[in-house]
Symmetry: C2
Subunit: 368 residues, 2 copies
C-alpha cells in the first residue's frame, strides 16, 4: 500500500512552489469574518466542547436536509450522517462494502481508489466520455458488481459532468439490477451555469449521496456528510462511531451557526462560482496560448481542468522535472487503476493567482 | 455487529437523566476563557481553515513530543501522529493489525473491543488483578498473540493502576517475545497522588502509546495522538489519510496556541485532579452509606469507580429499571468479551454534581 501521491506532494512542497496539485480552495475566498462571528457565538456555550452524538448535531443535520428538500429531494435529519470530511464518508462506505467488487469511472478520484484498495474492494473501471460513463460498458460491469462509485458533477479529475440522458440511463441500470450507487458530489454547488439534479434523487433506497463543506466553505473544519435512507444511515453509524466517536463538535456548531442565515451562504457560493469561473477561463486561455499542444475543454464548474498532450508524453516523469523548478500538478496516470504512465494532466486552477498560473505554465512548457 | 451500549444510551437520555454512564468530563472545568483567547488568535489566519498535512501540524506535534521528553521519554515530532480523538488512534491500529489475535485485559474498554471486532481481531482476555494483569496468564496468551492492548493508568472501566513491578514484568514479557504493546493512556494525567511511568518507555521499538486531550481539556475538538517510532508512524499514515485526510485543523491550531503557555496547562490539570479527587471520594463515601452492599475501592485517579455487588445481581437488567427512573450507569458485562450479565457496575463520577450523585445512588438503591 503506497501513500497518496497528492498527500506526499503536499508535504514535500514549500511556500515557493506553484501548486496546481491538490484540491485546495482559494483561501482568499474563505468567509473569515462571518466564521468569526459564528465562532464567537458558539464558544460561549460549554456544550460546544462536550462529547456529542455520533450521527452529528441535530441542527446541522436539519440544515443540510432542508437544502436537499428545497431542491425537491425530500430529506430529513434522519437521512443525514455527519462525517469528518467526505473522505471519511467514503471510508465508512468502503468499510461497509469491504471486499466487494465496485464499478468506477476511469479516470477517478485518487483518494477514493486508495480507500477502496485499503478495504479490499476490487475496482472495475469504465471509461468516462464527455457526457458521463460509456453506458454499455457501465451496464456490463454493473450487472455483476451491483455497486458503483460515481462523481457526476464536475468530476475529479476530469471535470466531466453527466448529461440528463446519462443520469437517467445510469439510474435505470441501477434500478434494473437493484444495486447501489455511491454518488460523490463535493463540487455540485460549484457550477458556473446551472445545477444538475442528483442521480440519487430517483434512487432513494439504492443510493448514498456524499456532500462536503470543504470546497464550498473551508476544508480544515473537516465536515462532510452522507445522505441515505434511515436504515442505511443506522447501519453506517456502527462504523462511524468506531472510527472517531463523532466529528469535531466545535466545527459542527460553527457551521450550523453560520448556516442560519441561508442568504449569506448563497451569496458566498455565488462569489466562489464567479471567482472560479474567471480562474477556469483564464487557466484555459493561458494553456491554449502557452502550451497549445495540451488538448482540453474549458471547465463548467468545480476545481479542475483536465486534458492530455497530442503526442505521447509521460506526464509522471515530467512532473518530477517540474518539481525541481517549483511547479507541481497531478499526472493523469494517478487516476487510473493500473497507474500506467500516460499523457494526461489534472490541473487545479482555484488556488493560484493569475500571475502564478502564467508563470507555472511557462515553467511546465520549458520542461517539455 | 451491535452499536456501543454507551453511545446508544447517550442518545436515549434527556437532560433530566442523571448519567453515571459515558466518560464525560465535567464541563464546568472546561477552560472556556483561555480557549477563547487561543481561538480568537488563530482564526485571524486563513491557514487555520486550509487543508493541512495528514500527520498533524508541526507545532502541536512538537509540543506533545516535548511533554514526553521532559518526563524522560525522548520524543520528537516525527514520533507523533495526530488523530481524531484517541478513538481514531485505536481504529488506525486495529486496521493496521486487522484479523490478528490480541491479548486484552478483562474487563476492558468497550470502545476498543468494538473496534477490534469490527476489524476482525480475535481477543483473548486476561483477568485484571488489583495491581495489573494476572502475569502468568498474560504470558501464556501473549506468547501466541504477540500483540496486546493495555490501559495501565486508572483503567477504563476498573480504575486499576499497574504497580511498578507489574509494569516491569509486562515489559519484559513483550521484549522476550519481541511483540507489540498498544498502551492506551487517556487518564495518565488525571492522577490524584503521583504519575506512573509509561510502560512504552522501555519498549521504544515495540510500542504504540496513545494520548488524548479529550479528558484533560475538552472532548469535542477530537484531538488525540499516537506516539511510536518513526517507521511505525509512517506506516500508520497511509491509514490515517485514508480515513479523514487530517484531523480538524481549527482544533489543532487552537490547542497548539493554548499549549504555548505550559504553566497554564499545568495549572488547569491540577484543578481537574483536585476536583475529580473530591468527586471520587464523595462518590465512594456516598456509595458506602447508600448502597453498602456494593464493594469497591476508592479511585486514585481517572474518571471511573468500579465494583460489584456481594450478591448475584444482574446489573444489565437493573439498568433498564434505573433508566425508567432517569438514572443510568454502565453494567459490568459490557466490558467483557462474552458480555454475560454479572454483578459489576462502572460509575463515572466526574460529570455529576454532589446532589446528583446522592440522588442517583438513592434511586439505584430503590431499584434493587
Amino acid at each position: 500500500m503506497k501513500r497518496s501521491f497528492i498527500r506526499e506532494i503536499l508535504e514535500a512542497i514549500d511556500e515557493k512552489t506553484i501548486s496546481f496539485a491538490g484540491g485546495l480552495p482559494n483561501e482568499k475566498l474563505f468567509p473569515m469574518e462571518e466564521l468569526k462571528i459564528a465562532t464567537l457565538k458558539v464558544i460561549e456555550n460549554p456544550k460546544t466542547y462536550q462529547y456529542t452524538i455520533s450521527n452529528g448535531i441535530d441542527e446541522l443535520r436539519e440544515q443540510i436536509a432542508l437544502r436537499y428538500t428545497k431542491e425537491g429531494f425530500a430529506t430529513t435529519k434522519e437521512n443525514i450522517l455527519i462525517t469528518t470530511g467526505s473522505q471519511q464518508a467514503m471510508y465508512i462506505l468502503a468499510k461497509f462494502f469491504e471486499n466487494k467488487n465496485i464499478t468506477i469511472e476511469e479516470p477517478s478520484y485518487l483518494g477514493a481508489m486508495n480507500i477502496f484498495r485499503l478495504n479490499g474492494l476490487k475496482m472495475e473501471g469504465v471509461k468516462l466520455e464527455n457526457d458521463g460513463v460509456d453506458i454499455n460498458k457501465f451496464e456490463e460491469s454493473f450487472k455483476n458488481t451491483k455497486l458503483t462509485y460515481l462523481i457526476p458533477d464536475f468530476q475529479n479529475p476530469s471535470a466531466t459532468t453527466y448529461s440528463d440522458t446519462k443520469r437517467e440511463e445510469v439510474a435505470n441500470i441501477i434500478k434494473k439490477y437493484d444495486g447501489i450507487l455511491i454518488e460523490d458530489s463535493p463540487y455540485s454547488e460549484l457550477f458556473f451555469d446551472k445545477k444538475m439534479p442528483y442521480i440519487s434523487k430517483s434512487l432513494t433506497n439504492n443510493s448514498f449521496l456524499l456532500g462536503s463543506f470543504s470546497k464550498t466553505l473551508v476544508p480544515s473544519l473537516r465536515i462532510g456528510w452522507i445522505r441515505a435512507n434511515e436504515d442505511k444511515i443506522k447501519s453506517l453509524m456502527i462504523i462511524k462511531e468506531s472510527i472517531d466517536l463523532h466529528s469535531c463538535g466545535l466545527s459542527q456548531y460553527i457551521l450550523s451557526e453560520y448556516l442560519k442565515d441561508e442568504q449569506k451562504y448563497e451569496n458566498h457560493l455565488q462569489k466562489i462560482r464567479d471567482d472560479y469561473k474567471e480562474k477556469a477561463e483564464f487557466f484555459s486561455k493561458s494553456l491554449k496560448s502557452i502550451i497549445p499542444e495540451f488538448i482540453h475543454q474549458t471547465p463548467k464548474g468545480g476545481m479542475f481542468l483536465y486534458g492530455g498532450f497530442k503526442n505521447k508524453i509521460d506526464t509522471f516523469a515530467l512532473v518530477q522535472e517540474c518539481l525541481k523548478k517549483k511547479v507541481v500538478y497531478v499526472p493523469g496516470n494517478q487516476f487510473y487503476i493500473d497507474k500506467v504512465p500516460n499523457s494526461e494532466i489534472r490541473f487545479n486552477y482555484t488556488h493560484s493567482s493569475f500571475e502564478q498560473i502564467e508563470k507555472g505554465l511557462k515553467i511546465i512548457k520549458s520542461c517539455l
